[in-house]
């Protein structure tokens, strides 16, 4: 056994100059980019898939999931609806109604699969793109709008929906989630009971580089916390491909911490659901964390402020269109005769209604009262903030008086 074989990694000898020249002269990827990108983004043999892009369903022995027509219809509906309001979010931004929108396009299966795998008592910690998880937790899509219209930093009661506020600082939520899961264990809510709880934490491929993600995994394994680390590898962190973050598929990190790790076809809603369900149940029993890498694709820009044409090729996006998460479910439903035209039409109508309601809500949102600036900085009274609030309101009243005269 030669050391060279002890671990997989790209092997090549490269000289600084070559790369610098190569990159300087053109935007052709350097040899290391090619090697690393191949490792990091290839689907690999390990990819867990149940519903193929062609709509063929092959049960997975390790991740059993009972599939019914009704259930598939439900998943289809979920995905169509979230895609619809996501697109509406994009248009609203284009029309100046929102200051920014963060699209989920392409990640519908990754989110609905995970979201529908959760039990009501489970708790989710999103990043900022998890509109589909919000949907599964029962948060009305209009509640998301405040963040993007700039009227609020959040818009729902995280306790009620067991869905935490969006976290924008990359990686932070992994630790908050790990801590919450520690609490679930300390509360005795792990085990075989029907009330056993788990936590699921969402983050991106780019986030895996952050120290907080690592520390989250260290703490979760140290305390055997019931948490699923769910990485949506959508191949891009703004303009940086996942190959910049990792030489190998991301789920491989899990083994080093001593926790199970899986790569699932993130555009396969059944696989996402089945694996997440297994993972939540596994950690719910008290065995500690599990990592899932949902291998998917960000079909749209990073946000409405982003211009992906500067860094990625249209051909790549075209390739992923063939792997569309919704289309394969539709094909399967049709081919197996599990849904008729009326069903599809009704979902479309519902989607249009949702979009209209979403838009309506957005354009009618009010600027919050000035008082909001000073509210909930602290839970109790606070001499200084209270004084600044009073002074400022008095200052504003001065203008009104002036105006009144």
């Amino acid at each position: 056994m030669a050391p060279e074989q002890w671990v997989e990694r790209p092997r090549y000898v490269q000289h600084a100059e070559d790369v610098a020249e190569g990159a300087g002269a053109s935007n052709v990827p350097s040899p290391d980019e090619v090697a690393r990108g191949l490792r990091a983004t290839s689907e690999g043999e390990d990819l867990i898939q149940i519903l193929s892009p062609e709509g063929v369903l092959t049960p997975h022995p390790d991740f059993p999931v009972e599939v019914t027509g009704e259930m598939l219809q439900g998943l289809y509906r979920d995905m169509v609806l979230i895609r619809r309001f996501d697109r509406e979010g994009n248009s609203l931004q284009r029309q100046g109604q929102l200051s920014i929108w963060v699209p989920l396009l392409g990640q519908e299966a990754a989110q609905i699969g995970a979201g529908r795998a959760m039990r009501p008592q489970d708790f989710a910690f999103p990043s900022y793109r998890e509109h589909g998880i919000a949907w599964c937790r029962g948060v009305d899509p209009t509640a998301l709008l405040g963040i993007f219209r700039g009227t609020d930093h959040s818009g729902w009661d995280p306790k009620e929906y067991r869905f935490h506020d969006y976290t924008i600082v990359i990686g932070n939520q992994a630790l908050n989630a790990a801590g919450y899961a520690m609490g679930q264990a300390f509360d005795g809510k792990v085990g075989d009971g029907a009330d056993a709880e788990a936590t699921i934490c969402f983050f991106g491929d780019g986030a895996t580089a952050q120290g907080d993600i690592h520390e989250g995994m260290v703490f979760a394994t140290a305390f055997d916390s019931p948490i699923v680390f769910y990485c949506q590898n959508n191949q891009w962190a703004i303009s940086e491909p996942v190959g910049k973050m990792a030489r190998l598929p991301l789920f491989r990190r899990a083994a080093g911490y001593g926790m199970p790790g899986f790569r699932v076809d993130g555009n396969d809603v059944l696989a996402c659901l089945a694996v997440t369900k297994w993972a939540l149940d596994e950690c719910r029993t008290g065995n500690g964390p599990v990592m899932i890498e949902a291998f998917t694709y960000r079909m749209d820009a990073h946000t409405t402020s982003d211009d992906p044409s500067r860094y990625r090729l249209a051909a790549e996006t075209e390739h992923w269109k063939l792997l569309d998460p919704i289309e394969r479910v539709r094909v399967h439903l049709v081919r197996e005769g599990l849904a008729d035209k009326a069903f599809f039409d009704s979902v479309d109508v519902e989607a249009d209604e949702l979009a209209a309601r979403f838009r309506d809500f957005a354009v009618n949102m009010q600027v919050p009262p000035v008082d909001r600036i000073f509210s909930n900085v602290y839970t109790g009274p606070h001499a200084e903030v209270d004084r600044q609030r009073a002074d400022y309101l008095e200052y504003l009243a001065g203008f009104e008086e002036e105006g009144a005269h």
């Binding site: 932070n172 790990a178 801590g179 200084e384």
Partner: protein, 326 residues
């Protein structure tokens, strides 16, 4: 229990114990806080008596400690995080500023964040680099936090309990070089809010303002100044954010002169803020500009030089002379 003489370290230990007894949701967490009882033994005996799930020896990672404490607080716990030394809070700074301080605001009050971060701070113990810093200004500048510093055993005992009871996050500064100084502690009667500023010694000529680690220096300087015929009034801020300016302004309006004493470097410090606030609110009462005795705008020096770096009796007296002779 009636009054007894205990060290500041022991008073903190008793205060933590009282909080843990009063509320099963109170947790201790940090590096070496369990079996070892912390490098300063502040949590001594707590794991033995309350168990491993209430006194958590965590992995060695401060962002992890603070970040998981946030999650535990969301779950209904009241975590008390120990940072081993002042210089090691910074890996956790991001979680403090982005989550600890902002969760309540972001969620419009849906969450509260009853989390305490205990930081043994300040110099004077002959330690190596990163073990003698005074980072309070960083936390005072973060809206959403409350910041306090205790200076004697009785305050330590009550303030730590008030911090833990507080529904807001509290950064709790412990003057490490005073851990072994003794003082009277009467655990019988809980005082009014200790997150308030107190006059430690009444006087007429000049207001000496300190907090935490510098209080013994300030009190000693006051004695010396009194021996020289001055009449200094001594103030212990206790709460650094928000400031409790009332007692400070009352004093300065009476004396017309003020000296602020803190170990931290001077530039963009809390001492500057105090000086600015006093001037804003009591301009016409001032006979001299507020003076500051602080650390220098340098990193904390090697410990053989720390006595030169730290505010001491002579420096405070010198400042008193300056404001009196202005």
């Amino acid at each position: 229990m009636s009054a007894e003489s205990v060290t500041l370290a022991k008073a903190l230990n008793l205060g933590l114990r009282a909080s843990m007894e009063a509320d099963p949701k109170v947790l201790m967490m940090g590096e070496d806080v369990g079996k070892l009882g912390g490098v300063f033994r502040i949590t001594d005996g707590l794991q033995k008596d309350f168990g491993e799930h209430r006194v958590l020896d965590t992995p060695l990672a401060e962002s992890g400690i603070i970040g998981t404490a946030v999650g535990l607080a969301l779950r209904g716990y009241r975590p008390v995080c120990e940072i081993q030394f002042d210089g090691f809070v910074f890996p956790g700074f991001d979680q403090i500023i982005s989550q600890v301080a902002k969760v309540t605001y972001r969620s419009m009050g849906a969450w509260s964040m009853p989390l305490t971060v205990r930081i043994p701070y300040g110099g004077g113990i002959g330690a190596v680099e990163h073990h003698a810093e005074s980072p309070e200004a960083f936390f005072c500048h973060i809206a959403g936090l409350r910041v306090v510093a205790c200076s004697n055993p009785a305050d330590a005992y009550w303030m730590i309990q008030e911090a833990i009871d507080c529904p807001d996050p509290v950064i709790f500064f412990e003057p490490k070089r005073r851990y072994w100084e003794k003082g009277e502690l009467d655990t019988g009667v809980r005082p009014d809010s200790t997150f308030s500023t107190v006059v430690r010694r009444p006087g007429d000529d000049v207001t000496l303002i300190g907090y935490g680690a510098t209080m013994p220096v300030v009190l000693a300087a006051a004695d010396a100044a009194a021996a020289e015929g001055r009449s200094p009034e001594v103030i212990d801020l206790r709460t650094l954010s928000p400031l409790d300016l009332g007692p400070v302004l009352d004093s300065v309006r009476h004396t017309g002169r003020a000296v602020v004493v803190a170990e931290a470097p001077r530039h963009a410090s809390l001492s500057g803020e105090i000086s600015a606030r006093i001037t804003e609110e009591a301009f016409y009462s001032l006979s001299a500009p507020v003076a500051r005795v602080t650390g220098f705008d340098t990193p904390y020096p090697p410990s053989k030089l720390e006595e030169q770096y730290l505010p001491d009796l002579d420096k405070v007296l010198h400042a008193v002379d300056r404001v009196m002779d202005f």
